[in-house]
């Protein structure tokens, strides 16, 4: 297979471009989007590459149509992605819930900018953490990843497709304007170097009859894609294992939604990814996600030089959230600081996880600039 960009070597590219290339290497062959800053370059790269790899890239009339189209494409058997920023992500929320309810593997990138509303289109922020986790209506469970470097943007995108296919779930990638437009050196592997997961298809007619059952006991039903003769009916209404609408039976709804929770939470150890930096002996922990992690690493070094036993916990997965791990951390350290580019969204999760075992302090910054290392260090020193 020929690729429209160099593989097996490093390149100096933007975060948006890295996501597009990773998607293609992960097997994505359907992209639908609507232009929005700072995610447009993902679309532009996809528009350039997709026809060359016999994939589809189409500009839809809005973000609602974009996510709808990728869900349709996924049921037709394609790995599919869309990318947007905060306002567009808000428009996608109804269909994001539809993807959760119908257990459709899709990848949605949200390159966050300052908000609410049109806010600061060209500036970074981390204001959509809660929207990514709880934006759609009703009880639901999905996966949210958060890269901090262009290399991570690439690597996490491949992982996002693999998780989406493996667990038949939408996966959200939360980046930000800084990451979207920053250029860094990225290693683009050869296709053989990449582990690519394909969705579980029905092994028999019997399995195909249960598109929303649990024939393998792992909570993830095989997906009978359209056109294979299985005659599957897919609905966003509460449905039983066969896919038949059963909207007035409480136990059917409970069984379905609890399984959608379970298939993610039972595998959370495999899904959750984090990195620790000088945390083993730390008395002060800094917990971050995304772009702020980069300043926080430097802040830890500065603090250590000043004699403060600081360490960093960087969350690569924002959701599901490892509350137990945070509680263990809170037992070990005196204080936890949460620098983030909003007025306290990750902070709420960390405080809940800490469960009163350690004091948790928010270092909030909004307006469109990433925290400087000194801003974080100074707050810790006090």
């Amino acid at each position: 297979m020929r690729y429209p960009f160099p593989v097996g070597k490093s390149d100096f590219i933007q975060g948006d471009e890295a996501i597009a290339r990773a998607a293609i290497l992960a097997g994505c062959r359907f992209y639908a989007g609507y232009p929005i800053t700072p995610a447009s370059e993902i679309f532009e790269a996809m528009a350039l590459y997709m026809p060359l790899v016999d994939g589809v890239s189409i500009q839809m009339e809005d973000e609602i149509a974009s996510i709808a189209a990728i869900i349709g494409a996924s049921w037709a058997g394609a790995k599919a992605m869309t990318a947007t920023s905060g306002p567009g992500f808000s428009l996608m929320q109804e269909n994001l819930g539809y993807a959760v309810m119908t257990e459709t593997p899709i990848v949605v990138v949200n390159m966050m900018r300052g908000g609410p509303s049109t806010g600061q289109p060209t500036f970074p922020a981390q204001g959509d953490i809660m929207q990514a986790i709880w934006g759609t209506h009703g009880d639901h469970m999905l996966i949210v990843l958060s890269p901090s470097t262009v290399q991570e943007a690439f690597d996490f995108t491949i992982r996002a497709f693999n998780l989406a296919e493996k667990y038949r779930t939408p996966v959200v990638i939360l980046g930000d304007a800084e990451l979207a437009h920053m250029r860094e050196r990225v290693y683009i592997p050869e296709p053989e170097e990449i582990e690519v997961v394909e969705r579980k298809l029905p092994a028999s007619e019997e399995e195909a009859k249960l598109p929303f059952g649990d024939p393998h006991g792992d909570g993830v039903p095989p997906m009978p894609i359209f056109g294979k003769g299985y005659r599957t009916y897919v609905t966003g209404l509460t449905h039983d294992e066969y896919g038949h609408p059963r909207t007035v039976e409480p136990e059917v709804h409970e069984r379905l939604i609890r399984r959608i929770y379970r298939k993610i939470l039972d595998h959370k150890d495999e899904i959750i990814s984090r990195e620790e930096f000088m945390l083993e002996d730390a008395e002060v922990a800094i917990v971050t996600t995304g772009i702020v992690s980069r300043s926080a690493i430097r802040a830890v070094k500065i603090l250590r030089e000043k004699g403060v036993e600081a360490g960093l916990l960087k969350l690569n997965t924002v959701w599901p959230f490892d509350f137990d791990y945070i509680e263990e951390l809170a037992e070990r350290v005196d204080k936890i600081y949460v620098p983030e580019m909003n007025l306290g969204q990750l902070y709420h999760l960390v405080r809940e996880g800490a469960n009163g075992k350690a004091e948790v302090e928010l270092i909030a910054k909004i307006g469109g600039e990433v925290h400087t290392p000194m801003e974080i260090a100074e707050r810790v020193v006090g």
């Binding site: 020929r2 429209p4 062959r29 359907f30 639908a32 026809p51 060359l52 016999d54 589809v56 189409i58 839809m60 009339e61 809005d62 609602i64 149509a65 974009s66 709808a68 189209a69 990728i70 869900i71 349709g72 494409a73 996924s74 049921w75 037709a76 058997g77 394609a78 599919a80 109804e94 269909n95 539809y98 359209f226 056109g227 294979k228 003769g229 299985y230 005659r231 599957t232 009916y233 897919v234 609905t235 966003g236 209404l237 066969y242 038949h244 609408p245």
Partner: protein, 281 residues
């Protein structure tokens, strides 16, 4: 035309475990469903290569009752989902079963853009002037003066003429009938299913319970008589003055042309891209 018995059609195409349907007595959706299945049967189309897509509302429940692959989506978005299905697997034939509120109100933008792109899909549109499932609110197709729960004193807005809208936006085939024009209806669906690009067959369909009851036509026969009164065949309408056509709905075949469909256009686009990049001659 020889017509098979309704039982034969039912046994061949409906999911028996999903019956009975949710439709009220006197509703026209079942008739249109039957026309569509008869068209499929007559054309001997492969059941496994057709996907039914719908949005939300009474008519959008149809894909659940037929034994085909089906996607029952969110309100108004059927055609956006259909775009993904069709482009990801062009071998699938797509039928979008939609209501008037679904297609023309919340889904209006998707409708005009799907037509503009000439998406390869056949839209079967149930127009009953009302939001039936949510209890009889007024729809954007409702003629002036008709009542709904959200226009208790009679609709004061101008109605959409969906068929005319589809013609203007560039559809390859557009026809409108009442559910009582069954032969024309079946023939139109057959034509639509055989064409490339965007095709739309609109049916004026009775809804005695949510719509008729609020407009002094609480039974299907009353609605039939009313439809006979307000509809005018296209040939006759051409000879009528605009003031004579006031409050009337024209029925017939409005357009039948062969512009290239989206799938063909995209396949050409792929070839052009590879050529421009020097990948292929």
């Amino acid at each position: 035309m020889y017509l098979k018995s309704a039982y034969e059609i039912r046994d061949k195409y409906l999911r028996k475990d999903m019956l009975p349907t949710i439709f009220c007595p006197g509703c026209g959706i079942g008739s249109v469903l039957q026309f569509t299945l008869r068209a499929i049967d007559d054309l001997k189309l492969n059941q496994d290569e057709i996907v039914w897509v719908s949005g939300i509302g009474c008519s959008s429940r149809v894909p659940g009752f037929v034994n085909f692959d089906g996607l029952h989506t969110t309100h108004g978005r059927a055609l956006a989902f259909a775009t993904g299905i069709k482009l990801a697997n062009p071998n699938l034939k797509i039928i979008a079963f939609m209501g008037d509120g679904d297609a023309a109100a919340i889904g209006g933008n998707h409708l005009i853009h799907a037509i503009r792109r000439n998406l390869d899909v056949t839209v079967i549109l149930i127009n009953n002037f009302t939001y039936g499932m949510t209890g009889g609110q007024v729809a954007p197709t409702a003629l002036k003066g008709l009542r709904g729960t959200t226009a208790p004193y009679g609709q004061f807005e101008n109605p959409f003429d969906i068929a005319q809208l589809a013609v203007s936006a560039g559809a390859n085939y557009v026809a409108r009938w009442t559910v009582f024009n069954y032969l024309q209806g079946i023939n139109s669906i057959k034509k639509a299913l055989q064409k490339e690009g965007f095709t739309l067959v609109e049916f004026l369909s009775p809804c005695p319970i949510s719509f008729g009851r609020r407009n002094r036509m609480k039974t299907a026969p009353e609605l039939i008589r009313w439809y006979q009164k307000i509809t005018v065949p296209l040939a006759k309408a051409k000879k009528m003055k605009p003031e004579e056509l006031e409050g009337k709905i024209v029925i017939g075949e409005f357009v039948d042309r062969d512009r290239p469909g989206l799938v063909r256009e995209y396949q050409e686009y792929i070839k052009r891209a590879k050529k421009m990049m020097g990948w292929e001659q």
